[in-house]
């Protein structure tokens, strides 16, 4: 075989492997998408061709499942979590980025470390406390504990963005008589806005997909979408067509959001350990 032929063969092999990898990655997702449009008869067969129906989506929003309530809960909880976390994280990130604080490294390490604390450890004391103060099964309770997982990401991610904004503009404005607060409001915030939006979306996805806290803290009023999946375990086993429809409602919006911020996904998740 000549060198050229060998190269071409390698190229073909690589392409085949890549296509196979894409296939394996997409099959479980695609299968849910198909199942969501199958009737309850078709879903229990390995069919690729069937008459699609929208019935499942109507059913999951109807009694007794009422997925709409869970959708509202998920949206409110994730959104409010983000709206609290991002401003607080932004102020801290600016300070960490621009000043030298006493104990700064210790603080940053602790913030980093809290991200790695198992959720199941955090939730035990919160469950006891919420039981005593009546915050079980409320959105407020869920928002408070969600801050635990979202804050460290938000601080680290936004600090990364602020680090990337050159300091010269700020210094020039200060020379012209602007106060630090004005500088933050008029210069830093507009320049960091895309970064803040990215961090916000990232945190929204995390809060939306959160499972363990919601499983333990909610049972009726504040149930979120991932917990709502358990509704579709009927007497005769799993109702796969309904589970799939609910699955789409959970994942499709996150797919859109994740694609919007895909360039920053790695940086966010690794808190800047990989750039």
């Amino acid at each position: 075989m000549t060198g050229k032929q060998k190269k071409r063969l390698w190229g073909a092999l690589h392409t085949a492997l890549i296509l196979f990898a894409i296939f394996v990655m997409l099959v479980p997702i695609a299968w849910i998408f198909l199942a969501a449009f199958k009737s309850h008869v078709d879903v229990y067969q390995l069919k690729l061709f069937f008459t699609p129906t929208l019935e499942n989506f109507a059913t999951v929003f109807d009694d007794p499942y009422r997925l709409g309530e869970k959708l509202v809960n998920s949206t409110v909880v994730a959104l409010v979590t983000v709206l609290i976390a991002i401003p607080i994280a932004t102020l801290a990130a600016y300070s960490f980025s621009r000043f030298h604080l006493r104990g700064e490294t210790v603080m940053l390490v602790i913030i980093l470390a809290t991200q790695f604390v198992p959720a199941v450890v955090i939730i035990l004391p919160f469950f006891v406390m919420f039981r005593d103060v009546g915050l079980l099964d409320t959105r407020l309770g869920l928002i408070l504990v969600n801050l635990a997982i979202v804050m460290p990401f938000a601080i680290w991610m936004i600090k990364g963005f602020v680090d990337g904004i050159p300091m010269e503009t700020e210094e020039a404005a200060m020379v012209d008589g602007s106060s630090r607060v004005q500088v933050i409001r008029n210069i830093v915030l507009p320049m960091a806005a895309p970064g803040l939006l990215t961090a916000g979306i990232f945190c929204f996805i995390i809060a939306w997909n959160e499972f363990l806290f919601a499983l333990i803290l909610t049972n009726k009023d504040a149930v979120t979408l991932p917990i709502g999946l358990a509704l579709f375990k009927g007497e005769e086993g799993d109702l796969w067509n309904l589970l799939s429809a609910a699955g789409i409602i959970i994942m499709a919006p996150m797919f859109v959001l994740a694609l919007l911020i895909r360039k920053y996904f790695v940086q966010g998740m690794t808190m800047g350990a990989v750039r």
């Binding site: 604080l101 470390a113 004391p125 999946l229 796969w240």
Partner: protein, 290 residues
């Protein structure tokens, strides 16, 4: 306001939130771990019994050691498999081009999927009657044709590992592609000009350069593997029996289903210990760059 005051004021809210949502619960869980701590007995949360909960876990509870073993095996397998497969995929996709960057975009999707939903989808895929993967494995490897995956301890464990590997490969691949991009091209080209084979270039040039990123990947994945709960809960709920009961699931079950908050807090704290080492190792990499 002087910057000197302002800089501390700016971090104050964040410090308060992190303290209230992470440090306090950690400390409170530590305290609870020394109490009788029964949810249904008021007052037992302040009834101290020393190290008894820890002793109970160590000496009286085979189920605890079972979950330690399950978690350890699960962590080793998922970290090794995800890292190796992600590295392979990253090497395939790194050169760029239409197909490859398209593939990279699609890789975001599994990672945006809720882990609980991944659990559900794999239970679906391995359903013995109409599961797609069940049918696939049965066709490719006939001895597996009539097995009920989630009813068999070993196979159920294998499915849980597969679901996790499937969910994490995409993200780790993206991290490693980022790492590969920072390996200097001219070093690779120089080695190629010198006549080094593809394998030699990979082993002697790419891999050492990739070292730090690989370390970050392994540490990060270890942390998340140790914590695993969502998929396990949705996929097998720890079963059959306790064959797939990870530590998080064991803690959840003892604390929430049996109401033994004190005991589960002690196990939870035992779980924090390896986390401290991993976090320390991870922090070193984060600050090395900054």
């Amino acid at each position: 306001m002087r910057d000197n005051t302002l800089k501390y004021l700016l971090v104050l809210p964040a410090v308060v939130v992190v303290f209230a949502t992470a440090i306090w619960p950690l400390a409170e869980a530590f305290r609870l771990s020394f109490t009788v701590g029964r949810l249904n007995r008021p007052g037992s949360l302040d009834q101290y019994l020393g190290w008894e909960n820890y002793a109970w876990a160590f000496f009286e509870e085979p189920a605890f050691w079972n979950s330690v073993w399950v978690t350890a095996l699960y962590t080793v397998l998922t970290v090794a498999l995800t890292t190796i497969l992600a590295l392979g995929l990253a090497l395939l996709l790194a050169p760029g081009g239409r197909l490859r960057s398209g593939a990279q975009t699609l890789l975001i999707l599994p990672f945006a999927m809720s882990p609980a939903l991944i659990g559900v989808s794999f239970r679906f895929m391995f359903n013995p009657e109409f599961g797609l993967f069940d049918a696939f494995f049965g066709t490719v490897f006939p001895p597996l044709a009539n097995v009920s995956w989630l009813a068999d301890p070993t196979l159920a464990f294998a499915v849980v590992v597969m679901a996790d590997v499937w969910g994490w490969i995409p993200f780790l691949t993206l991290v490693l592609i980022g790492g590969l991009a920072s390996v200097p091209r001219d070093t690779i080209e120089a080695a190629q000009v010198d006549g080094a084979s593809g394998w030699r270039v990979f082993r002697d040039v790419t891999l050492p350069q990739l070292g730090p990123v690989l370390a970050v990947v392994v540490i990060l994945k270890s942390i998340f593997s140790l914590k695993t709960f969502d998929q396990v809960y949705m996929l097998t709920n720890g079963g059959p029996g306790t064959a797939t009961q990870t530590l998080s699931h064991y803690i959840y079950f003892n604390g929430m289903k049996y109401g033994q908050i004190g005991y589960s807090a002690s196990v939870a704290w035992l779980m924090v210990i390896p986390m401290i080492f991993l976090t320390y190792a991870y922090a070193k990499f984060v600050f090395r760059k900054g």
